[in-house]
């Protein structure tokens, strides 16, 4: 239970970074931290007490391998979602560069030209 509590605290720190901070780079860091927290959540879901990595090495027999290996499905998903977060950050960085060219600042407070 402590592990999940710590992951959700990290998730809420990321959400705070995105919502309350007005600097675009801080928002991108918040996005990054949320991505880390969700990926960690997936891998923690697939953990088995002192389980070995799901890669068969010549010395191990199949039955022992199946008995002790960790759940491989979340790891396949995290490989995909790590790269999805990287693409979002790549796009947001390019967006913040262009916003900086137009406004001369990363601070959203001065940028507020759009009404709600």
């Amino acid at each position: 239970m402590i592990i999940y509590l710590a992951i959700s605290i990290m998730f809420f720190i990321g959400i705070y970074g995105m919502m309350a901070k007005k600097n675009i780079i801080k928002m991108i860091i918040g996005v990054n931290i949320i991505g880390y927290a969700v990926n960690l959540f997936f891998i923690v879901l697939g953990y088995k007490n002192n389980g070995i990595q799901p890669i068969l090495v010549p010395g191990v027999s199949i039955e022992e391998f199946v008995e002790k290996a960790v759940n491989p499905i979340p790891q396949a998903l995290v490989l995909t979602s790590i790269v999805i977060d990287l693409s979002t950050i790549c796009f947001l960085a390019a967006l913040s560069i262009r916003i900086y060219e137009k406004y001369g600042t990363f601070d959203l407070e001065k940028i507020r030209r759009l009404k709600g």
Partner: protein, 489 residues
Amino acid sequence: MNLIIFPVIFYLLSSFLIALLWKEDEKLSGIACLSFSILTLISIISLGKHLILNERIVYFVGNWRIPYGITLMVDALSYIFLLVLNFILPIICWFSLTYIEKYTKSGYFYILFSLISAGLNGILISMDFFNIYVFLELSSLASYILVAFGLRTEELEASLKYTMIGFIGSTLILIGIGLILGKTGTLNIADFMSAAMSLKKVQLWFILGLFIAGFALKSALFPFHFWLPDAHSLAPSPVSAMLSGLFIKITGFYLLIRFVSNVFIMFPESKIILMGLGLVSMIFGALMAIDQIDIKRTYAYSSISQIGYCVLAFGIGTYYGYLGAILHFIYHSFSKTLLFLNSGAIEYRYKTTKIEELKGLQDKMPYTTTTGSIGMLSISGIPPFGCFWSKIIIIIAAIKSFYYGIAFICVIVSIITLGYFLKLQRNIFYSKKEMGKNEEVNLNLLMPMVLLSVIIFFSGLILIPELKIYLDKAIDVMQNFSYIEIMEK
């Protein structure tokens, strides 16, 4: 039975080939994108023949059975969404052949256009939680980029706000998928349902809550709507037509239907939440759309209220409610696409969509005026046109299940909708006579609008008995289909 995969493959191929070969030549990439989307439409229509014979098509990617590989499934409900999607996409692509010339490097526009369509088609045919998430993420990322395609300051800021909120929505859905993986160990919807039967109901309410919040955020229902007006009004017109007409409906409304009525069947009361969300966003969208100064912002707020109609009709839960929801989705997609393409034609000619700067378009752009007023009358529910039938059915559904208050509010909101659309028409199209010369836009912009308005004009025919059978099949899917039946087969 490989026809089911072809929509996704064609659009992926079109985006990769345009990026490789024709990116610099704008004319050629437009034609390539148009030909690939027409090819997809043909493959979808030929898919229909198989669907009539057997009730649904299940396809195992890589020949791996249910729990191991990814399975795809098309039944009557997703076939209707596929038809509407793949019928509107070539029209938008045809419209943007000349509209996009105003933007630099429009080859990239066609790449991103086919990527969004690949994502939307991927969502409609898939039956696997994580697969839906990946294609949802693909089409959302492509739409974040297209909102900022014009590189003006407002567009960049609207895209930033849209990206942040869209990212939160995707993360909520991803956490829901993680919990499903944790609880039942599988990602396949049918396998999940057969495993979830043994779980207690209390354990699943949190997962359903996450999904409803994520999809409500993606379809801009009331509490999460504030990204939509900026994103849809500042994007290039074909992009906002695709966003308003198709994107929020498929990533939000379609997935809400699937998850509430087909996956989480043990929570019938969740429809009441949807009814509440739909009601509030219907009222809010209509009220906000009244005093807008920009045509596209009025259309954006009106699409918030119209998707509120669809979700409300689905929330009622009876046969008529489902029929009203499906019909309203179909008619609103066609008419809202027509309206945004119409505002695109006006913007193409006069470089502005502010209401007071556009006067007396009746004689300057006669055809645009007629098609635009057809679209506006259709959405506000004037008899011969599309949305009148669906609004009537929704009101009947509300009365039949004794929600008189909701029926009354529906009537009031459609009157308000009629109000602001008439105001729009009076100011833009039929205001004082200005003897300007005929500055009608060229055919490439005009024919898509004429085609859409013809469809809307004859859209009442869908209710005749021969065609209604297919609608009833889709409603039967919405009412009592659950993915467990696929497990037994």
